[in-house]
């Protein structure tokens, strides 16, 4: 990082230009050439007077290392040993899905007085979820009168984790199999709760305020109102990252299938964890950070978002559904976010259904897929893929799994209610 100060082209120009003119003036006895030399002579004297003695050192720092999509932070370039510096410039390397202010990512700052350390900040906004390296670029400094220049010195990137900005999601439907301890979902067994279950004869231990007086008077024996107990439920989110369909335009542009999937998974996790349910995550087709066990709470929420931010599409192209370990317990509701374009994704979903779990498939193919190119062959190939997808979706639906398109709030309401009703009915499960 230690780089020497070098004379600028301006100093060479002023120095040699004024020297040539002054020497000619003296040798030829021409005072008019001395007039021409004078302004450049002043500039040379100023530049030499401000000759720097110590080379500065540059470093950059990110104000935040973790953000949501669309949130802003700053890259602060710091120059230490900068007493001889008059002007600092930082130019960041442009990165995809990272907007900077100023737009070119380069900013200069004149130091009002000799100071150390000198700082220049460039604002940046990550436009898409993910983990990326930012803040790399070049830093340069100029001495007084632009006589000497230091750098440009390279500054190294820092890791910025961009968490997905959850799409709006809300659901009024209860989870179909609440089997936990304390929660908000009406369970199948009776107990303390608010959801009405039945009116039954009084048993010792029943509370007096539960007595249903009208039925008791009519029947002549004490009857009480029983309620369903309220329990938390277990939700497993399965994200298909085997392939990404469509070109992503960031938070303000068109969405790819993985954008929809990641943001939807984040939104659903957000919703259920706020309700006190337990949520787990399994990402198909990513090399690391692919499993988050079932859990609850704010820290767990953050863990899920971090895992979603580390998703790398297509890192693993084939998944053996027989070897997949989902770590689910009985009663878990599984929500699969997938474009359903591969046999691997369909087989993994069918495997989950065969274990007797309630599985909902959320179709993440955006309405208007941005293929990124107006190539006729590409469009034809995409239409063929859609035909193939139809047959894959039929396989999923014929196995009794509802497929819904992600549309934000209320997406899962109807299917969750249907699953709740189905849960109360007897069924046969193939194991």
């Amino acid at each position: 990082m230690k780089q020497p100060w070098r004379p600028t082209a301006a100093l060479v120009r002023a120095g040699l230009g004024s020297l040539a003119l002054a020497l000619t003036a003296v040798l030829a006895g021409r005072s008019d050439l001395l007039v021409l030399a004078t302004p450049l002579l002043v500039c040379t004297a100023g530049a030499l007077q401000g000759r720097p003695k110590r080379a500065p050192r540059a470093d950059t720092r990110l104000t935040h290392d973790s953000l949501r999509e669309g949130e802003g932070t700053t890259v602060r370039a710091t120059l230490t040993d900068s007493e001889d510096v008059e002007h600092v410039v930082v130019a960041l390397t442009p990165h995809k899905f990272v907007a900077t202010n100023p737009p070119g990512g380069a900013r200069g700052r004149t130091l009002p007085r000799p100071s150390s350390p000198a700082r220049v900040a460039v604002a940046l906004v990550p436009l898409r979820w993910g983990t990326r390296l930012v803040g790399d670029g070049l830093v340069g400094a100029t001495s007084p009168w632009a006589g000497f220049r230091w750098g440009p010195a390279e500054v190294y990137p820092k890791t910025l984790t961009t968490l997905p900005m959850p799409g709006h999601f809300d659901s009024t439907a209860p989870a179909p199999h609440p089997i936990g301890l304390v929660g908000t979902n009406p369970a199948r067994r009776t107990g303390d709760g608010t959801e009405f279950a039945s009116i039954r004869p009084f048993n010792p231990g029943d509370r007096i305020r539960r007595v249903h007086w009208r039925v008791s008077l009519r029947t002549g024996t004490l009857h009480v109102t029983s309620t369903l107990t309220e329990e938390d439920s277990s939700i497993l989110l399965v994200l298909d990252a085997l392939a990404e369909i469509g070109a992503s335009g960031g938070i303000n542009g068109p969405s790819s299938s993985l954008d929809v999937g990641v943001r939807a998974a984040g939104a659903v996790a957000d919703h259920y964890l706020h309700r006190g349910d337990r949520v787990g995550l399994r990402v198909l087709g990513t090399t690391r950070h692919s499993v988050v066990g079932t859990g609850a709470g704010k820290r767990h929420h953050r863990r899920i978002l971090d895992t979603l931010a580390h998703v790398t599409p297509g890192a693993v192209r084939s998944v053996d559904s027989r070897r997949l370990q989902f770590g689910t317990s009985a009663g878990t509701t599984v929500i699969v976010f997938s474009p359903m374009l591969s046999d691997e994704a369909v087989n993994a979903t069918l495997t989950l259904a065969r274990r007797g779990l309630s599985v909902i498939v959320v179709d993440t193919v955006p309405d208007d897929v941005n293929l990124g190119d107006d190539d006729l062959r590409l469009r034809l190939a995409w239409r063929l893929r859609l035909v193939e997808r139809e047959s894959l979706l039929r396989r999923v639906q014929s196995a009794g799994m509802p497929v819904v398109t992600w549309r934000g709030p209320g997406t899962l309401d109807e299917v969750l209610r249907k699953l709740g009703r189905r849960a109360a009915q007897p069924r046969m499960v193939r194991r």
Binding site: T8, A9, A10, V12, R13, A14, L16, G17, A20, L21, A22, T24, A25, V26, L27, A28, G29, R30, S31, D32, L33, L34, V35, L36, A37, T38, P39, L40, L41, V42, C43, A45, G46, L48, Q49, G50, E86, H87, V89, A91, P102, P103, G104, A106, R107, G108, R109, T110, L111, P112, R113, P114, G140, T142, P144, W145, A146
Partner: protein, 181 residues
């Protein structure tokens, strides 16, 4: 190719600065013509080409070529007896403007908008340099009016005095309260 694509994305401020770099040598050449110097076609073309290159590449040494071309041509082609005319000062100021323009354009990448503090600083410095040039011109006019001998020895002594003075001036300006002035 990349240079031209960079030029097309210049900030308005940078465009103005580079226009100054382009025009200032032409002002110097016009002043030479006004002072009565004979302009050869090659000289004008050379100045236009070199100042255009300097406007595109302000951090190159082409600027030195412009200074030497204009200064050298004036030294060789200035009409006798008119070398102390006011046009000398115009040429000196045009060269100063050109130098300051090249310097400002090379401070940072072309997309960077230079801050107000830097522009004011250079306005002040350019004014100081112009004032010193004006004083030197007045002194040389007075000496010429008094018909003092214009020998190299006297000019050498004058140059030493000027060097000492500019150094002192630069030191004073560096040590100003604002720190940069």
């Amino acid at each position: 190719m990349s240079t031209f694509s960079t030029l097309s994305r210049l900030a308005p401020q940078q465009r103005l600065i580079r226009l100054i770099v382009l025009v200032a040598p032409l002002i110097a050449v016009s002043a030479e013509a006004q002072a009565g110097a004979t302009l050869q076609r090659w000289f004008v073309v050379a100045v236009i080409v070199s100042s255009s290159v300097a406007a595109v590449l302000p951090d190159s040494h082409t600027g030195l070529l412009v200074v030497l071309l204009v200064g050298g041509h004036w030294a060789g082609a200035s009409p006798s007896g008119k070398s102390q005319s006011g046009w000398v000062l115009v040429i000196a100021l045009a060269l100063l403007l050109f130098h300051a323009g090249c310097m400002l354009a090379s401070y940072a990448p072309s997309s960077v908008v230079l801050d107000r503090a830097l522009l004011l600083l250079w306005l002040r410095r350019t004014t100081w340099a112009a004032a010193v040039a004006a004083i030197v011109w007045v002194v040389s006019r007075v000496a010429s009016g008094l018909e003092l001998p214009s020998s190299g020895l006297v000019l050498g002594a004058a140059l030493l005095v000027l060097l000492g003075w500019t150094t002192l001036l630069a030191r004073t300006m560096s040590g100003r309260a604002a720190g940069r002035g």
